[in-house]
Each structure stands twice: as C-alpha cells, then as structure tokens.
C-alpha cells in the first residue's frame, strides 16, 4: 500500500510540474500585456512602461520568472496579483469554499437523482420506464448548463421572484440565504452530471445483472430489491466513483460560465477575470490549485477502489 501511495505521489508531482510549466508558458505566449491593462488607454512613456514592467518583474526572462515562481510556490507563496496586489493564496482561500460548495451540491444532487434513475433503467431495461428515463437523461445531457441556468433565472427569479439570481452570500454569513443563491446554479450544474451518472449506473447495472452470482442470488429466492441494492449496486458503483472523482475535480475548474452568469465569486469567476486582465500569477495559482485537487482526488479514488472491491485489494 505504501508503495502504491509513493508511486501516486511521484506521479502527482510530475503532473503538477508539467501543469505549472505549460500554464506559465501558455499564458506568457498569449498576446496582450498586463502593463497595457494597468496603464489603460492613457498617455505613457517607454520609461513608465519599463518601470511598471520592472515593478511586476516582467522584465526578467521567462525561465527566470518561472523558476522564481516555482521556488516561491514550493514555500507556499503563490505571489500577488499584478492588477490589485491581492495575495494569490488568500484569493484562492476565499474562492475555494464557494466553488467547492457548488461542486459538492451539484454532485450530491446528481448522484441522488442518477442512482435511482440508472437502477430503474437497468431493472426495467427496454420497458417504458427505461425509455422515458433515457429520453429525460438525453434531454438533460443535450442542454448546456448555462441555457438551463438562464431558464431557471427567468422562471424562479424574474417571473416568480422566489430566488435571487446574484448577490452571493457566503455560507458563513447565513445558511438559508446561501442556499437560496446556490440552488439554481448547483441544479444547473447537476443536471448534466446526473445525466452522465445515470447512464453510467444503468450500463454498469445491466452488465452486473448478467453476472452468475446475481443469477445465483435470484435462484436462492432473494428479493429483487435486495439483489439490486446489496449485490448489484455496489460492484456497479466502481465506475460511478471514478467519474464522481473526475467530475468533482473538473467542476472545480469548470464552473466558469455558471459562476460568471450568477456572479458567484468562486474559482471560475476569478479565473476568467484574471485571464481577461492578463493577471498571470492569479491564472497560474488557480490552475495549479485545480490541477492539484484534480490529481489528488483521482489518486484517492484509485485508492478507494481497494476498499470497495476486495478483488482489487487482493490483486
């Protein structure tokens, strides 16, 4: 087990190194200059441009800047925003709980809806329940989440006035107000996830229900509910666990549109603003954080396999 963890850790470090280098390279290669954002469209002299560039450390060669950033990062200092001087560590710390909450709510809602739909589809394969649920899942999968979100806003904010469509309230500032603001974006995110999960559960369950041990359980006269829940669902949940892990990590960096639409101060909103402002260290910091979480979650999921499936542990 220790060897596995060590192996995973090495892979994690290599991945992060590649991610940071590639991100730094790509952002540096992008056209556009943070100095232009800072100075705007007003008169400037070459001396002033150079002074701003020097203040930001942008006058140094790319590799020197990367090495300096990497050295500071390894000591836990991700630098400061070029634009407003905010510490990137603090920026991430402020934004992670917001995006994590949305991602968590979306995943929980998706799983809660997807498992029964998937199980039902598998159990009633080919019957009308399967047809209806598959059609609904297809619709959910086909509609981009921001379209769903706009539809929600129109119904629940503009027409009914039930839910605010912006004005985020942090969890610590009031649970009810927070949930009123989180429910629409989280549901919009959840619908697509639910569609993916339920298709996966259905497919895995159909395969599992063909297994000999399930047939044996049926032959023993065990009830369908017992067989589905105790014998079929658990082995069928391996793929689901994997995809939950991957999608949770992806959601941390993939809520850009939804966060921007609802003006939610999470990682995605921060990332899009940083990109438009060429705020390189913020882009770098958020990217590294998301990549780290993504890789760590996948590592944890891999390790959890051994807990869920004794066959993997024994092998």
């Amino acid at each position: 087990m220790g060897k596995v963890i060590l192996h995973r850790l090495m892979r994690l470090l290599a991945t992060l190194f590649a991610v940071t280098f590639l991100t730094f390279s790509m952002v540096s290669l992008l056209p556009g200059d943070p100095v232009d954002v800072i100075l705007g469209q007003v008169e400037r002299t070459p001396e002033l441009e150079e002074r701003v560039r020097s203040d930001l450390g942008l006058d140094r060669p790319f590799l020197a800047r990367y090495a300096s950033w990497l050295g500071d990062s390894l000591q836990g200092d991700l630098g400061e925003s070029y634009i407003n001087g905010q510490e990137v560590n603090q920026l991430i710390k402020d934004r992670v709980p917001v995006t994590a909450q949305l991602a968590f709510m979306a995943i929980v809602m998706a799983v809660v809806a997807a498992v029964p739909i998937g199980v039902l589809g598998a159990y009633k394969q080919g019957k009308w329940q399967d047809t209806v649920s598959s059609a609904a899942v297809q619709v959910a999968l086909s509609i981009p989440n921001f379209i769903t979100a706009i539809f929600f806003v129109w119904i629940f904010s503009v027409k009914l006035g039930w839910l605010p469509n912006s004005n985020w309230v942090r969890l610590g500032d009031g649970l009810v107000e927070n949930l009123k603001r989180a429910i629409m974006p989280a549901t919009a995110l959840a619908l697509t996830q639910m569609a993916i999960f339920s298709r996966l559960v259905r497919a895995d369950m159909i395969a599992t229900l063909q297994e000999n041990y399930v047939l044996a359980a049926r032959a023993k006269g065990l009830s369908n509910r017992y067989i589905l829940m105790r014998h079929a669902l658990r082995p069928s949940s391996l793929s689901l666990m994997t995809i939950i892990g991957i999608n949770f990590g992806a959601l941390l960096g993939g809520t850009v549109i939804i966060e921007t639409l609802f003006a939610i101060p999470g990682l995605g909103f921060g990332l899009i603003n940083a990109i438009s402002r060429r705020d390189i260290l913020v882009i770098q910091g958020i990217t590294v954080f998301v990549a780290t979480v993504y890789v760590v979650i996948n590592t944890v999921v891999d390790l959890l396999y051994t807990v869920i499936d004794p066959r993997i542990r024994r092998s």
């Binding site: 232009d36 100075l39 400037r44 119904i155 942090r170 921007t260 003006a263 402002r277």
Partner: protein
C-alpha cells in the same frame, strides 16, 4: 403504483412551476427607507458646507467663457434623453435604507492613484473619495473639495484653495500638505504616473494651510479637467496609502459621503454612511441620505437586468445599447436614467501602413460605412445617434460643420474612391493594379461588436473592391495591438465627456520620432495617437486650445481639428454610446445631485452615478 404517483407528482410540480411563472408578476420588493425625513435627522451637526460656500467664480475658467455651453449642443432628437433635471420637490427626501447596485464589472482595486477606472469603478470610488473639481450640468468645471482654482496669466501655474473643515474617514483633516503628499503617491502609481505626465504636472506644493500650487511643464487652460477624474483628482489619505498600498485597496480612506465597510472582490463592496460628511443638499439636508450601498459585479448583461427586474438589486448600470433597449421594454416599476455622451464608437485605421496611408482608401471605406445598419446590429436603433466627430450632439463642443463634412454613407462614391486607388499604378500597397484592397479588421469578441463588424465586412466586401478579414482578440490584447500597430483597422471607442484636451493633446501628437523630427517637434511623441495620424495644423490647433480659456475660441479650434479629420478620415464612426443607470422607482435623486454652489451636477455621465444625494422613498 408508487412509481405512477411519483410521476404524477413530478408532472404536477412542473405544471405548477410553469403556470406560476407564466402568471407571476415581477417582484416589487424594492429598497425601503425608514420613516426619518431629511429634515428630522441630519446625522451630524457639521454645517460647514451649506451651499453658499462656492467656487471663486471670477477665477473659474469655465465661468469666463463667452458662450453658455449648455445652450450649444441641445440638438439631439430621437436618441436617449440626457437632460439633467431637478427632482420633483414634492417627493419627500428620506434618510435611511440600503441600496444594492449591479455593476458590469468589478473595480480593479480601490486605489485611485494606481488603477485605470471606468464606469463601474467610478460608481464605487465616488462614494469613497471626493474629487477636487467636478463637472456641472453644463459641462463646466466647478470646485468640489476645492473652493476655488485659478491660473496665472499663461495657465502654467494653478493655485487651488481647499474647502475648510473637511476630514477623512479616519478623522484626519484635509490640508494643503495632504494634497502635496498625495501627489508623491500618485507619481508611484501606474495610472497616476501616466496622468501626471499627460497633465504636465512638475510640482505640487502646499503654499498655505489650504492653498496648493500646481506647476505645469507647459501652459494648459484645461488643467482643472485633470482634477475632476481619477487618478489625479480623487483625494485619498496619503499616509496610509504610502505605508501599505495593497492594504489600502481593501480599506481605502477618503473624504467621500460613504466609508468602506466590506470589500469582497468579485462579490460585493459595501459602503456605509459617513456621518461626518461635509456636504449638504441645497435644502440644507446633510448628505448622504441612504445608510449603505452594496455594489455587486454582475458581468452578464442579461442577468444584471434580470437582477433588477427580480428585485435582487435595486439599480444597475450598462453601456450596452441592446441592454438599454431591453430595459426600456421592461421598464414598469423602474426609473431609467439614460445618457448619450461623447463616447463615439467606430474604429481607426493605422494610417502609417498601406493602403491606409492613402486618404482615398480611408475616405472610400468611410463612405461605405452604413452607419444605420451598424447601429442596428449594435442594438442601438432609436438609442444611439450616428457619429460624425468626437462630440455627441448633446455636447457643447459638437460642431454642425464637422457633422456636415463627415463622409456620409454613399456606396457608389465610396466605390469610386477605392477604384481610383486600385487603378493607380503607384498605389501604396504595391499590389498589382486592379487587385482588391486588403483590410484586417480587429475587434474584441463581444457579440454585438462582432455583429457590427460583420455588417462592415459585408458592405465593404459588397463593393467587390475589398478583401476583409475579421480578427478577434480579448480587450487587453486588443489595446496592446492598437499600441503596437499590429493590425491595420481596429474597432474602438473615442473621447469622453471630459474637456477635449484630455483626449486630443496626446491623441494628435506625432506618433513616431521620425514624424516628430520632421515636424520640428523632436521628442514630442505619443503612443496613444491610435490612428498614427499626424497633421501639423490639427496639432497646432489642439495646442492652441489649451492656451486660452475662451470657450468660443477653443470650440473653433476643435472644430478645425474635426474638419481636418473629416477630410482625411483616419477614423470611422458608428454611433455614440448610450449608457443607462436603471433603478427601482422608489430610488430618487440620481439625476439631480448638486454642486456646492447649488448648481446641478453632471448627472450620470457614461453610467457613472453619484450616490450621495440619492434617497429611497417607497411611499
């Protein structure tokens, strides 16, 4: 059986939700004020500013003009209503209430000396920081924190007298030394440094407790304009700003009507009433009226409007024509404060590169510019007027002569000019006679801008004389490419409602050392001469306009520049940018804030609201 019941329940819920949505009205949950009337509770017994304490009128350059600027430009029809008017006196001014305002973007930071500022940023900053000078409803400059400002004979030295008794949010007094110390901080900032350069300030000295002297490198009759904006005009506490600039951005200290309460970047900036604010309205009510304002960045245009319609926010601002249109269509229960200022949309040609170094090409493309259709694509039909110069018809600087001279849409005339260039064996782009002209048109990736550029592409291509390539880059890249002359035609916005010299002086200076030397102006080079168009007569006129404070004389000089531009066509225009602040109809006063002299202020130019005199009256 249970499953059927579940489906029925779900179906019922869906039908109910859709039915309720279809029948439901807009939420009228507006901001509520308390019952305290303005006369009951001033919140402070500081009466140092009572409206009588006005600028030294004899020394105010704006007051010395021969013509009344307010009467000059009132010719716009069929566009937005930019008129600034007094609020109905019958509507009771109430103290209290909280307002939430949706902004199109977050303010980069709250450090006036360091960061460039646009409409969202100005909405926040003007609650926290007072300016030394403000523009009134006529466009003239009057003292705000300055009681007076006066030049020497040649406008190279300006003496400013500060208002007495003003304190910062931390209780420290505003003195002349504060302004001198503030200037040192301003020089360290990116925006402050560049604006000090543009204004030509070489020294700021405290010459008395409240007397400040600004020395300029060259005379400028329009210098007060620089003190009416960030980064030079907004007054901040320089000690804390210098000590920890980053921390100051989270906890700014100014003299403004509100003080910072909470700064949560990209979520909310909350400002609360400054009980010791120095200013009162003309009736003697101490300002501000409302208890707090929460500014929320909501970048999505549709969602920001929805936030107002749903009561999630009490006000919002926009500079998009299609949002103005949509707000007009949903204006029940709202008050719309519209403004069409001198921000002209369109684009510029890089006149240093072929084929745009030839005026026939520039004129030809201008004549092929179907402005009405471009404005329609921008969503501005009935909102934006077609542009012809840097000043809108509502501006005192607007010139009918320039409007008449600007090349109008004339497809055949435009084709004829382009054909003449194409058939010219000496054509500047060195292509074979008869070959089409190549135009690379670059714009930020905004959907409405893209639609507008597609109209231009179609009409230019329809001439069968032009190959058009559209490129799209984000805003930062777009500006950078304009600076580096990387493409040859850029869509752009020009000018503003400030004094013309702010835009014109740098905008018409020689773009390169070679051109400067050839014009006998070595070292006078500007990187923000976007079109790289240099005309010695225009530059001389621009400079002459800062040597006099006579309005008519100055206007004639800027008109001369406008006529030269119309003739040489370094830029093209679509329409003027209409902006809007919309509020719940229980929110009053945005259109009618006052100068210390009692005159009406500039209203809400370019969606920049002044919130000190705003009150809430839900009754």
């Amino acid at each position: 059986m249970r499953q059927r019941q579940l489906f029925k329940l779900l179906a019922l819920l869906l039908v109910f939700a859709l039915g309720a949505a279809a029948c439901g009205g807009d939420d009228d949950d507006s901001s509520d004020g308390d019952d305290t009337t303005a006369g009951d509770d001033t919140g402070s017994d500081d009466d140092s500013s009572d409206g009588d304490d006005t600028t030294d009128e004899g020394d105010d350059p704006a007051e010395e003009t021969d013509d009344d600027p307010a009467e000059e430009g009132d010719v716009a029809e069929g566009d937005v209503d930019t008129e600034v008017t007094e609020e109905d006196p019958a509507i009771e001014r109430l103290y209290g209430g909280d307002i939430s305002v949706g902004l199109e973007a977050e303010a980069l930071s709250l450090r006036p000396w360091d960061d460039t500022c646009s409409a969202p940023c100005y909405n926040i900053l003007t609650t926290l920081f007072d300016k030394l000078i403000e523009q009134d409803a006529t466009g003239a400059y009057q003292g705000w924190l300055a009681e007076s400002i006066a030049p020497n004979e040649d406008f190279s030295v300006w003496t400013l007298v500060l208002r007495d008794g003003v304190t910062f949010h931390d209780g420290s007094p505003l003195t002349a030394q504060t302004i001198a110390d503030m200037f040192l901080v301003q020089l360290t900032g990116a925006a402050g440094g560049s604006n000090a350069l543009a204004a030509g300030i070489t020294d700021v000295t405290a010459t008395g407790d409240l007397d400040v002297t600004y020395t300029l490198s060259s005379p400028s009759s329009a210098f007060p304009a620089f003190l009416s904006r960030a980064p030079l005009g907004m007054v901040f506490e320089p000690g804390s700003a210098a000590a920890d600039p980053a921390a100051f951005g989270d906890a700014p200290i100014g003299t403004g009507p509100f003080a910072i309460d909470k700064r949560d970047i990209d979520n909310e900036t909350v400002v609360v009433r400054n009980d010791n604010y120095w200013a009162s309205d003309p009736d003697g009510n101490q300002l501000p009226f409302v208890d707090s304002i929460t500014f929320r960045p909501i970048p999505d245009e549709g969602n920001r409007l929805d936030a107002l319609l749903s009561g999630t926010v009490d006000a919002f601002e926009t500079s998009r024509q299609n949002t103005v249109r949509d707000a007009r269509a949903n204006s029940d229960g709202l008050t719309l404060y519209e403004h069409q200022g001198s921000v002209a949309s369109g684009g510029f040609f890089n006149t240093l590169v072929p084929p745009f170094d030839d005026v026939r090409v520039r004129q030809g493309l201008n004549q092929l510019n179907d402005q009405d259709t471009v404005i329609e694509a921008l969503g501005g039909t009935g909102i934006s007027l077609p542009g012809s110069q840097f000043f809108s018809p509502d501006s005192p600087w607007f010139s009918e002569a320039v409007a008449a001279a600007y090349p109008q849409f004339d497809f055949n005339a435009g084709k004829a000019l382009l054909q003449e260039y194409i058939d010219d064996p000496g054509r500047s782009d060195a292509k074979t006679t008869g070959d089409k002209v190549d135009v690379e048109l670059s714009c930020p990736p905004d959907p409405t801008l893209t639609a507008a550029m597609q109209v231009l592409e179609q009409v230019w291509s329809a001439s069968e004389l032009v190959n058009v390539t559209l490129t799209s880059f984000d805003q930062a890249t777009h500006i950078g490419m304009g600076l580096s002359d990387a493409t040859n035609a850029h869509c752009w916005r020009f000018s503003d409602d400030n004094d013309p010299s702010i835009t014109f002086n740098a905008g018409f200076a020689p773009p390169t050392e070679e051109i400067a030397a050839a014009a006998g102006l070595p070292g006078v080079v500007s990187v923000v001469n976007w079109a790289n168009w240099f005309n010695a007569d225009a530059f001389a006129a621009v400079n002459a306009a800062t040597q006099t404070d006579d309005f008519a004389e100055r206007k004639a000089l800027y008109e001369k520049v406008g006529l030269l531009m119309a003739a040489e066509a370094p830029v093209w225009y679509s329409g003027y940018t209409a902006t809007m602040i919309a509020t719940e109809d229980s929110v009053f006063g945005l259109n009618s804030w006052h100068m210390p002299s009692g005159d009406l202020g500039a209203g809400h130019p370019n969606a920049e609201g002044r919130w000190a005199e705003v009150w809430v009256n839900a009754g």
